[in-house]
């Protein structure tokens, strides 16, 4: 019996010839990540409770200062300091200081730290993002991370795999974000609970790596353990000159067993949003167009890489943010910010009246720089809109792609981008 990509990676990590869904395995980890909210507890558990003095391999760990950094208050400064000190004491090679890294899920791929065929864990739920690079990547807790730090291995239940096939190509204006919101709307926030989502099909071959990362990023919003994609030319090109280690791609066997097969015609997917207050509350854009907004947020590990900012800038160029609305743009990494500066995107944002911030998770999790108040309505390019996610439990959050967000900032209501821009310039769409 053949195996899926996910099963092959877990079998290799466990030192076994094969594994089946439901097996509990102890597997070696290839790379691990933590940040300013999860390193302090993990470090304390590892040292004070588990009694480990050093981490298993300081070259296979990355730490980012992203959630509440630059410190939003004195308590966050303490968490930042504990994160910094732990990274220094343990000799962690891939430590990213404030102003030099950014959001973990952009920083790790852009630095070539998470590679095909690998078993990757991160103490953050959106660690499933890395799976677009043909690896098994999943979110874990702080006790889990302490275990990985101490031993270099962790227990896993081998997940059943759900296969998602996307036929044909996405239409003009429709982005990877619209596709994944549509899928989550179809299967629900627990539709893939504890399972692997394997994405494949023609539509994916025609989207770039950043768009693919947007899709695997949101696997957790369907409850999945991981999201994973095949290795192809796009993967190879993205990693050329970037990969920090040699790697071996993995593919699913033709006779691999899937729990369920889902097929979608990508060409039929419309621009869409997730309405308040759940990521599976999908609605075509046409049904919510005209909804009045207080804030528009372009940011997060989901949709604030350079391609996202290019599309937002193309829409905003020559326009002003509507009176009564604030637009906050947060690049997802320092490298993205540098590139945006080179391309003149920041000038466009500032001229439009947007607030441009440093790279941080910031407003996405209601941390800082864009927290919502009671009754406020926000359109956001982020991943999650459960009650209270971005601030007050009675704030209303809609999720969309960056071009829709930019157009809506210009009009002040939820708007199709073609009402502001005739056509996305070639090379940007």
């Amino acid at each position: 019996m053949g195996m899926t990509m996910t099963e092959k990676i877990l079998a290799r990590g466990a030192g076994r010839d094969s594994v089946r869904p439901g097996d509990l395995v102890l597997a070696k980890v290839d790379f691990a990540m933590g940040h300013d909210l999860t390193i302090p507890p993990a470090g304390r558990i590892m040292r004070e409770q588990m009694g480990a003095e050093k981490i298993w391999d300081p070259e296979r760990v990355a730490v980012t200062q992203d959630h509440f950094q630059p410190a939003k208050d004195a308590a966050s400064a303490t968490l930042g300091r504990l994160t910094r000190e732990f990274s220094r004491d343990m000799g962690i090679k891939w430590y990213f200081e404030v102003g030099q890294g950014g959001i973990c899920h952009t920083v790790l791929p852009e630095n070539g730290l998470v590679l095909p065929g690998e078993l990757v864990v991160g103490a953050d739920s959106h660690s499933c993002t890395y799976g677009a690079l043909n690896n098994f990547a999943t979110g874990i807790g702080s006790t889990d991370l302490a275990c990985v730090f101490a031993l270099g291995e962790l227990w896993f239940r081998v997940p059943e795999t759900l296969k998602f096939v996307y036929h044909n190509r996405l239409k003009e204006w429709v982005e990877a974000k619209d596709l994944i919101l549509y899928v989550i709307g179809q299967i629900g926030v627990d539709g893939a609970r504890s399972k692997a989502m394997e994405h494949t099909g023609e539509a994916l071959r025609h989207i770039d790596m950043e768009a693919r990362l947007t899709m695997t990023n949101m696997a957790i919003e369907a409850g999945a353990k991981n999201g994973i994609m095949e290795f192809d030319e796009v993967t190879k090109e993205y990693l050329d000159g970037r990969a920090k280690r040699p790697y071996t791609p993995v593919s699913s066997d033709p006779d691999a067993e899937y729990e369920k097969l889902f097929e979608f015609d990508a060409e039929k997917v419309e621009l869409g949003v997730a309405r308040p207050m759940s990521p599976d509350n999908y609605s075509p854009l046409s049904e919510v167009a005209g909804t009045r907004l207080d804030q528009v947020f372009i940011g997060s590990c989901t949709n604030s890489r350079i391609t996202d900012l290019r599309r937002a800038a193309a829409v905003l160029d020559g326009h002003k943010v509507a009176p009564g609305v604030r637009l906050i743009i947060t690049p997802s990494s320092h490298q993205v910010a540098i590139q945006a500066e080179k391309e003149g995107l920041i000038g466009i944002f500032l001229a439009s009246g947007a607030a441009w911030t440093t790279a941080t998770c910031g407003a996405c999790l209601g941390g800082h720089m864009g927290v919502l108040g009671e009754g406020e309505v926000c359109l956001s390019t982020t991943n999650r809109n459960f009650p209270g996610r971005m601030g007050h439990p009675k704030a209303l959050v809609y999720l969309s792609n960056p071009a829709v967000a930019a157009a809506s900032a210009v009009t002040g209501v939820i708007t199709h981008p073609h009402e502001v821009l005739d056509k996305m310039p070639a090379g940007i769409a």
Binding site: T38, G51, A52, G139, S142, W155, V189, L365, G366, R389
Partner: protein, 180 residues
Amino acid sequence: MTLPKVIRGRAWKFGANIDTDQIIPAKYAIYSLDEKELGKHAMEGVPGREGWAAAVTQGDILVAGSNFGCGSSREIAPVAIRGAGISLVIADSYARIFFRNAINMGYPILQSPQASEGIEDGDELEVDLEQGIIRNFSKSDEYPTEAFPKFMNELLQMGGLVPWVRRRLEERRHVATARG
């Protein structure tokens, strides 16, 4: 710390898809290393349940619907619930990271769609952890719980992943010493 055999307490009932930002709003993540402080704000993000933690009596039981603890990986979610004084969580089903965080902490959680359906807010419960049975005194009813894989039960019984890692580190040191 080993688990008690029997837990008794009042049920606090919550719905489906309660995510971690409702269990403990992210703004309280600044208290990541302070279980008591986190406990004061447990479930504060659930609309209509503000001030809930103050009403909990030590030992009470939280009962939820499906996909409990979806969202973030932050371990402060089960930590906050424990910090509020809740002795045990029963749900129709759990989101996976919340599930593994609780098991890793050695914190008892049970999966029982029947209990999640049958129990109402305020019911008096007795849970026999050895037999996996939930008794509802208020309704004179009882519900079975779903068995966990052997390794997860072992982790729970020994008090979570910390003692397990300690033992494994010991084994490695012995091997290293024996090899000289």
